[in-house]
Amino acid sequence: MPTAGRRACWATTPTPEASASVTWFLDNLSYIRGLAWRHLWLSVLPVALGFVIAVPIGWYAARSRRIGGALLTIGSLVYTIPSLPLLVIIPGLLGTSFLDPTNVVLVLTIYAVAVMLRSAADGFASVPRAVVDAARASGYARWQQVLLVELPLAGPVLLAGVRVVSVSTVSLVTIAPLIGVANLGSLFTDGFQRYFTTEIIIGVLCVVVLALVLDLLWVLIGRLAMPWLRVSTR
């Protein structure tokens, strides 16, 4: 589904037979860059929101066995719902317009929370009781225990969860063009309609590269946030 903006970017339409892939890529660099930027936002927002929402819930789930079990079951149930149908159902539920990117961000955030909930619960459950006890005995207040002890120690598992969610979110965003929200996935729909294989391949490469770049970003943030993990123990 070509958007108006796209047609404006293209002065001439290169024919598939005539252009080599690299030439095509360079010719349409600004177009692709625009798509990539949108894709980035559509990916990062759900991951960040998902993290912020899932961590407190996961913390709670790790403490209370019954409620935690129920929450995790709901989470895995939500994750069972296929992506495209959910993207169709949500606008109907909320009454938002179909082409609104908010739908995509919302649905992807829901998935991110569902996946991260498990990581968060596991992460907080992995914090040794003895350490939290020691903190309490040293005089840490409740909120200090959670923020300064439990959260950092759950960090590695949380980070692993973020990285998994990030990869799958970047991949899921490519579906959005089917309901009219442009991003790197548009290269697939467009390439398909025009029998232009090169465009699709470039699209796949861009998506994979974007996923890798984001992954590196999370790892970097993790390194900065958890410097004690980098020290090698003898």
Partner: protein
Amino acid sequence: MSVFSQAMSWLSDGAHWQGDDGFPHRIAQHVGYTALTVAIATAIAVPLGLWIGHTGRLRGLAVAVTGALRALPTLGLLTLMVLWRGIGLTPPTIALVVLAIPPLLAGAYAGLESVDRATVDAARAIGMTEWQVLGRVEIPLAMPLILGGIRSAVLQVVATATIAAYIGLGGLGRYLIDGLAVRDYPQMLAGSLVIVVLALVLDGCFAVLQRVLSPQR
């Protein structure tokens, strides 16, 4: 919520339950694609995963490949396959199989890794052959995770088969894609709801299966 009641009336319309475009046929197609894909992917991925888990070799490679395949965008792979290999059942099936391999592979080798090494060692020590150790000890104890992998794969294929309607495949995704083409939102919504119900039912079946087939530990 008038759009939902519209969808409901679309669903209850008898005409939509007959013929090639009717629900029974589409559901059957969708389940058929899922079964075929999961069967092929299982035949490829599970023995491989069991071998990796049992011998411990190539694990790093397996993890890397699983991660890479998971990062591949569904739509990209589907469109690419069709443009390369043409219309028909084979190209989308190849794409669906490739995308279903990661959870199956991971389920198999993670399942074997979850078995206590001491138990495996004891089994060898009392004189079981390698095949006996695999078949009588490792696989039964790894069943929950192996089944979990199959369960994930089934749900994954249900989702990707829906998307495959875009490249011309049948199944329940047709309601979404065809409905989109004519802006028939009730049709899209009706189709979506049926897919969601199908996914939940299949997931429930597997939950029961996992409970039944898991060994008492």
